[in-house]
Symmetry: C2
Subunit: 269 residues, 2 copies
Amino acid sequence: MIRGSTELVAIIGSPIAQVKSPANFNTWFEQNGQELAMVAIDMAESGLAAFIDALRGWRNLRGCVVTVPYKQVLAERLDGLSPRAAALRSVNVIRREADGRLLGDNVDGEGFLKAARAHGFQPAEKRALVVGSGGVGAAIAYALCESGVRQLVIADLDKPRAEALAKLLRAAFPQLNIGNQYANLSVFDLVVNATPVGMGGSGELPLAGQLLETLNPSALVADVVTNPVITPFLEIARELGCRIQTGPEMARAQMGNLGHFMGVMPLDV
Amino acid sequence: MIRGSTELVAIIGSPIAQVKSPANFNTWFEQNGQELAMVAIDMAESGLAAFIDALRGWRNLRGCVVTVPYKQVLAERLDGLSPRAAALRSVNVIRREADGRLLGDNVDGEGFLKAARAHGFQPAEKRALVVGSGGVGAAIAYALCESGVRQLVIADLDKPRAEALAKLLRAAFPQLNIGNQYANLSVFDLVVNATPVGMGGSGELPLAGQLLETLNPSALVADVVTNPVITPFLEIARELGCRIQTGPEMARAQMGNLGHFMGVMPLDV
């Protein structure tokens, strides 16, 4: 139970009621006897600039997880960014320093990879397809490049956005093969849906059903969608014999990264 | 445990670790099956203006209790004040309307009277001495005037502040006898320490020990200090046979007033 002396971390986004981080963090804090709590803040866009200024003076708040739709806009307002957050122009976590300075990082990609490694996937020299070049897709793509994949393909119905991400990644990782073209899925060791398609039981697929038939059964197939846990996309992959990785697995895997950056948790929890 | 869907109220002040409201509110929320939590916010003065602007956009926050030292400064920044908060230029609670407007009230006095009534004290036609003309003293004095005391005396080492409060109250309640002069304590039905004197086990008294000997044994003697619960002032009063009222009793009594104003509790809890 929260008392006057309880230190805080927050998660900010809008809407916010659906987020799982408060339950995950608070369970961990309680089980580990920490006098800390996470609160979920549903902030209107009109309050964001003031919220960031208030954070600088909020002495018993250690940090803030950032979720949709504020990962990009808040990256522009902090006092310092990690190299990857600066490259992605996107943060999913903020740490408040004792002097009030706010530092940002983006551990979406690291969390994704931590979950993938738990499934036995080692990214070095692999071929990966990331579907979706928005915030989370960009973070996953960046982490794959950092980890030395041989080939990265970015697919998005929004072609200019996909090409902009590919360009950014080619500049940061000039030795890698980064493109937007692919004939079928059979060459890929990893296929990730980083779009919201399939969310909320819509039944939709992020790639054409016919294309999914070309998935290599040795591939790891992952989804960032958290609800339903097993999306139609993952269902098909599982039927084809692929290993699958769910959205909640990625969310759970990055809890330690988020907590560690805020200074309230070890990296591996 | 706080989840993404938990609605919030806050208490803001600095320092904040010592406040009892979060434990009191959160116990009540839990016992009454409310998906609500109170968090304590230790805000630097430099962050106050931004905090108020952020509150306007904070969609899952119902309101905020205000404690020392921000009751006066925040009263200047809200979108509307109750008549008593406007007269006192001091708020101890803020409600966030659905449209983001922030309304303030000050229920310190009402909470004090609720506790006093529980001790059988009926203010109408009584004589009261309030020691201390700061925020909480002013709120108690105002509530006593509203309740129709016959005579109110305000004592403060800071004479100009005491006179300023007396002037404000005479303007608002022209029919009452409001002054700063008294010979001894024997005429008073109520004597209140509304200063911090006695806090933290200092052993100090808000009135001279010799003067305290003149307390009327039929009087109610009250303290706003919460730690220790029984201050040296209350100890002497008890020994003289007076009924006593502690700081925690006042704090507990006004919980319903605070919660009701924020729309999260019935008035009488």
